[in-house]
Structure formats: structure tokens, C-alpha cells
């Protein structure tokens, strides 16, 4: 990242924070001394040397989480979220970097818009906001946006996505995959065959039949992923699959990876925890795209995440204003909050498998996004982007307590394990004692 300014000799800088007795990625307790934006020392009983001491007893230090899929809504829907409010939600969730999706208004399909988002992120200063550029102009799926200009901009865009829409035209998808090879870009595909999901409201299956809601068949996702991995193989490009949601998609991906296709995939926390039965209340807080699937899909996604067929967890944090959710299911906008609850959901789903969590929520997403300062375990000389988790804490999710401007969390009332106690971005706290510092 260009904004990395720590530099110099970390040992010479004035120590800022000493974290005492913290378990780094679940290992035995140790102290971490943060200075000059990096981790200066790691070891037992380090001298404070004037640093502010943070009690890490019982806490686990993870590399700061990296979200490859966040909707910050700015510009355009600042009533639902802003770069600042979304950054704060991210920091409170343990994130130090988020990739902001392009479906804003105006769409992030020019260097100007991506630079604006990037600049707003720097001004907020709570997480690194890495803009994602649109693949096609206006997300319309008709012609390529100026991908190179976005790549060359101050925002240095490397991920391109029409998320919310599928790049359905196979020729356009092929061209996009090929074109971004020039600057090591990756196309993040929202896999949804549009003709198979016209009017779709929820997963097509037993529950949609009972509720009389138009079905979103699993094959609409699987068919696009199958096509895209073949295209990526054909042109030798990188493909990233957004919010994979079905057991069938896992099988397509498994096959592609076996063939050596350069494909990565993400799964959302909600697809790992919730099923389509939630729609029975007709409460649109459970409406999301792709939709919540069956318990068999949830099991397959969990296994694939552990196995590594699915590479990362991404939140698809999608804030929506109250009026877009307090309405009829069919009229509601799809999407759920995710940043502030993702780690808790993963602890609930995976248990305290800290290295796996660090791999899926920080190291691999940072690598896919090319965020070299992020996704590194705390060690001497590494940028001090990290988060401290209290695994023993349990909390009941209260929508009114979310830092996001929106309230559409699907976990309201659920009691989940884990609490973010502190988050550090380049050695400076963005969260302390579980509260955002600004």
C-alpha cells in the first residue's frame, strides 16, 4: 500500500503500545511491543519503556482481518452507510482492511470514483479501504470499464467486480479476465445466471414452494462458476468467486482446483450459519443474494472452508436503510450486515481454530487483494495490523448497538462467542476496550 509510512528503524521509534500476555494466533502467551507502526519486539516480560500497556491476558492476537467484500454505500447511499461508519464497523469487527465494492452511485467504474472512495477511507483512518472497480460501465454488463485507468490510479485497483450483477455475457467475461492480466488483476464474479433468477426471491426448494416465493435455483450459480473456471483456464487468468453458496458450487470448484485453474473463492458468514428456513418469517432481514440455502449446503460450505476448497471468508457486508427492509419481502433489497459479527460467527462455526481463522479471514484475503501490509502474523518488523479477541466472551447481538448506520443484521438476538477487545492499524489503536477510538 502506498500509504505505508512507518519506515525507518523500528527499534529507534518511541514504543507506543505494549500488549502483555497475549496468545498470538492461539500460541502460548507472550508480549508484543508496537513501535513505529510495526511490531518491534515479541517475547516474555518485555520492558514497557514508556509504552502504554494493554492487558492481553486471556486474549488472542490475530493478524488484522481483511474483508474482500464490503459494501460501504458511499457515494450515493450515505443514509445506509458511509466510508467512515463502515470503517468503524470494520474496526470493531477486528478488520484492518476492507475492499469496497463498486456498486455505489455513481458506480465505481472510473479512476475518479475509486480515488474518491480511497481518499475517504484514508480520511476516516480506521481501516485501509481498498476500492474494487467495476468490470463494466455502470455495472450494465455491456462494455468494459476503464480497468487500466483504475489500476493506475492512486487507489491502485486490482480487484474488479460487478457484484450485485453477474458478468453474464461470456465474451465480455473472457475479455475482462484476459485484460486484467496486464496488471495482475483479478475478476471477482457474482455468479448468477440472470435468466434463471428472474424475479427470484429466495433459494429454490421446499421452503420457497411453501412460502410461494420465486426460487433462485442453485444451478444458476453453479452454471456460471463452471463456465468461468473454464474461461479462466482457457485464458490463464485469475478468477475469484464471490459469496459461493451451494454444495454444487463446491464440487465445481474442487474440480477446477484439481485441474490447476487459478481460482479462489469466498464464503460469507451468513451462508455458513443460516438456512433458507429463516425466510418463513417473511422478515426481509433474511433476504440476501445469493440466498440462504439448505442445511446440506451449509454443511458442504463449512467442510470446503476447512479443507481449503473455499479460500476465504468475506462478509458481503450490505447495509440497507430501514425502509428498504421494513417492507414486503419481494420489495426489500437483498443484503445483510456482516463486519461486526463475522469473527463471532466463524468462532461459532469453526471453534477456536485460530490458525485456520487467521488463514481464511486475514492472510489469504490479503494475498488475493495484494495488500502486502496486511495478513501477516504479528512478528518483529511486521506492520502492526492486528486485532485482539476475547474468546471467552459471549454477546447477544443487538441491532441498535451496531456501529453501522444500518440495522439489518440477521443475527439479532443470537448469542455468539468472542468479542473484539482491540484493533491496531499500523500500531495505532482503532478499537480499545471494545470501543472505537474515533
Amino acid at each position: 500500500m502506498t500509504e505505508y509510512t512507518a519506515g525507518g528503524d523500528p527499534g529507534a521509534a518511541k514504543p507506543a503500545y505494549l500488549i502483555r500476555g497475549v496468545r498470538v494466533v492461539g500460541a502460548a502467551p507472550t508480549d508484543l511491543l508496537l513501535a513505529g507502526g510495526v511490531v518491534a519486539e515479541v517475547g516474555r516480560d518485555l520492558a514497557a519503556r514508556g509504552a502504554r500497556v494493554v492487558d492481553g491476558d486471556g486474549l488472542v492476537a490475530l493478524p488484522g482481518l481483511v474483508d474482500l467484500h464490503t459494501h460501504l454505500r458511499e457515494p450515493g447511499r450515505e443514509d445506509a452507510e458511509t466510508v467512515e461508519s463502515g470503517s468503524r464497523a470494520a474496526a470493531l469487527g477486528g478488520y484492518t482492511a476492507v475492499c469496497a465494492m463498486a456498486n455505489t452511485s455513481p458506480v465505481a467504474d472510473t479512476a475518479g470514483v475509486v480515488e474518491q472512495v480511497w481518499r475517504l477511507g484514508r480520511e476516516a483512518g480506521l481501516v485501509d479501504v481498498q476500492p474494487i472497480g467495476a468490470v463494466t460501465v455502470g455495472l450494465a454488463g455491456e462494455r468494459l470499464a476503464e480497468l487500466g485507468a483504475m489500476a493506475d490510479s492512486a487507489a491502485r485497483v486490482r480487484i474488479f467486480s460487478d457484484d450485485g450483477h453477474c458478468v453474464a455475457d461470456p465474451k465480455l467475461m473472457r475479455r475482462a479476465l484476459e485484460y486484467v492480466k496486464a496488471f495482475d488483476g483479478v475478476i471477482a464474479q457474482h455468479a448468477e445466471e440472470p435468466r434463471l433468477t428472474e424475479g427470484a426471491q429466495m433459494h429454490e426448494g421446499e421452503v420457497s414452494t411453501r412460502l410461494g416465493l420465486t426460487g433462485w435455483p442453485a444451478v444458476a450459480e453453479e452454471a456460471i462458476i463452471a463456465r468461468d473456471v473454464l474461461l479462466a483456464e482457457h485464458v490463464g487468468s485469475r478468477l475469484h468467486v464471490c459469496h459461493l453458496s451451494t454444495a454444487g458450487s463446491v464440487e465445481v470448484l474442487r474440480h477446477a482446483k484439481k485441474r490447476g485453474v487459478r481460482v479462489t473463492a469466498e464464503v460469507t458468514p451468513h451462508h455458513l450459519l443460516l438456512t433458507d428456513e429463516r425466510a418463513a418469517s417473511y422478515d426481509p432481514v433474511f433476504k440476501v443474494n445469493p440466498p440462504l440455502r439448505t442445511s446440506a449446503d451449509v454443511s458442504a460450505l463449512r467442510e470446503a472452508l476447512v479443507e481449503g476448497i473455499i479460500d476465504i471468508v468475506a462478509t458481503d457486508h450490505a447495509p440497507h436503510a430501514l425502509e428498504d427492509k421494513e417492507c414486503e419481502w419481494a420489495y426489500a433489497r437483498p443484503g445483510m450486515l456482516g463486519l461486526e459479527t463475522a469473527l463471532s460467527v466463524l468462532l461459532d462455526v469453526l471453534g477456536e481454530r485460530w490458525d485456520l481463522i487467521a488463514e481464511r479471514m486475514s492472510r489469504t484475503p490479503a494475498r488475493i487483494a495484494g495488500l502486502v501490509e496486511h495478513g501477516r502474523n504479528p512478528a518483529p518488523g511486521v506492520p502492526a495490523n492486528l486485532t485482539l479477541v476475547d474468546p471467552a466472551a459471549r454477546r447477544t447481538v443487538d441491532p441498535s448497538e451496531q456501529a453501522s448506520r444500518s440495522r439489518n443484521t440477521p443475527y439479532a438476538g443470537l448469542t455468539l462467542p468472542g468479542r473484539i477487545v482491540a484493533t491496531f492499524l499500523r500500531g495505532e489503536p482503532t478499537v480499545l476496550d471494545g470501543k472505537a477510538v474515533k
Binding site: 421452503v207 411453501r210 410461494g212 416465493l213 420465486t214 414486503e328
Partner: protein, 307 residues
Amino acid sequence: MLKHLLSGADLDAATATLILDTAAEMATVAGREVKKLPALRGRTVVNLFYEDSTRTRISFEAAAKRLSADVINFSAKGSSVSKGESLKDTALTLQAMGADAVVIRHPASGAPHRLANWVEGSVLNAGDGTHEHPTQALLDAYTMRARLGRIAGLSVAVVGDVLHSRVARSNVLLLATLGAKVTLVGPPTLIPVDIGAALAPGTEVSYDLDAVLPTSDVVMMLRVQRERMADSYFPSAREYARRYGLDGPRMARLPDHAIVMHPGPMNRGMEIAPEVADSPRSTIVEQVANGVSVRMAVLYLLLGGMH
């Protein structure tokens, strides 16, 4: 007793039977000099219709008025609703007006369920999207019982666009509860996935109308909209009528006692031939009359007592 009637699944056999028995008494009012009962005097029933359905609205209106309730018709056309007022804001308005019950017809599945969260009174689902229409199922069950003397053990064929039919869903649920055997018949494109598991185990599916007719006590023909052709559910109206329409020769395959039902409005010549619609087997006109009695029974049982 229930607070709301949102789905056929809200009714157990005892409650459904109570409604049908009550409806039978309500039916006698139609033949009286004063076609009115005082049971809901001072109660306010709002008909909240987001879709044009004159026949259903009139049926509920007649039912409520015969029970002496005050009726307010709130049509989405030409009201604040079409100016973009949300369902929730409309609900709060109705609440402020003291609605004891809201009868809602809405193009979005589940809208009545949402409304029930926002009003204190009872909510009656008068048809929501492609979901349910429980009072239609009750009046259909009433009609079957009146014509055939029972419901348990009947073989009922529901024919046509089951996928988009709220009438079919409510009927499958209620008829299973009352012990009838339901067979859904139509082209595979119009039979939703996992329908048996979704609604009532034991529900059968057939793509062959001619095979089902000889063992059916009741044939319920569903309205098939011609627009479905544009979406490739079937190739043409002619082919649909040939394979799944009920005409005179097909009707002759039915047992002598069997009846033919249709929730209306009919597409004559599409799913039902005129000679079938107008035959003595047809219960189409009775269904309309029974609708008022059944809706009176439901309104009374939801609103008549203390909650």
C-alpha cells in the same frame, strides 16, 4: 381460537371443522328476512386491497356487513398507497383508525405476515402473491362437504398452474388436514419443486390428467394465465387446453358423483370448456355463495370473542 388467518396451515382439523359448521349456520341467514346478525356490531373491518379483486372484496364486505361490522374499503388504487406509502405506514394508519381486523389482498407473498407484526387487530389473508388464499380453501372445503357429504377420504385433483397458485397451496394444506387425498396435475413446468415435502406429505403429482380423472371425486381447475406462455411454461394455449383443459369428453371420464370446481375467474376454452363450466357437476356458482358464509364464520370466530 386464532388471532389471524394467514395460511391454511394455521388451521387444525378441529378449528377447520368449527369454521365449516359455523359457516353452515351463517348460510341460513342468507334465506332470512333480515340478512344481518349483530355479532360484530361496533367492530371495524378494513378491506386493504393492493390488487384488483372485486369478487373477493365484495365477498368479504358482504360477510362483514351481515355481521353488522363497519367496513372500510381501502383500495391501493388512487390512494396514498400508490404514492409510495409503505405497508408499515399504512398499517399504522389503520391501527390509528381502530381497525379490529384487516383483510388484505397483496401481490407480494407474505405481506399479510408482515402486516400482522404492525397492527394489533386480526389479519385475514385474502390472497398474497403466489402464496396462499386460506378462505378460498375453506369455501372449497365447505362446497365439497355440502355436495359430497364429507371431506375425509375424498380424492381431489387440483389441475393447472400450481406453481403460481395461492388457491392450490391453501387447498393442499387444508385438504390434507381434513383427510382428503390430493393429486396435483399439470405440466411439470407448473408444478413447484418438492411440493409434497413442502406442504403435505402424501400429496401426489401427476402429469397425466386423463389417468387421474376416473378416480377423482373432485376436480379443481385452476386459472391459467395466458401470459405464462411468454415465459415458456407451455408452448401455446391450444396445446395447454388439449393436454390439461377439462372439456366434455374428459368430464365423461369422471365418476358419476364427481364435481368440478373452479375458484374463478375462469378462462373458458383454456382450462375449462363452457359445457363443463355450465354443467350440473359444476359448483362454480355455489362456491361464490359459500364464500360469503365461510367468510362470515371466519370473521365471527376471529373477532366475535375476547382476545
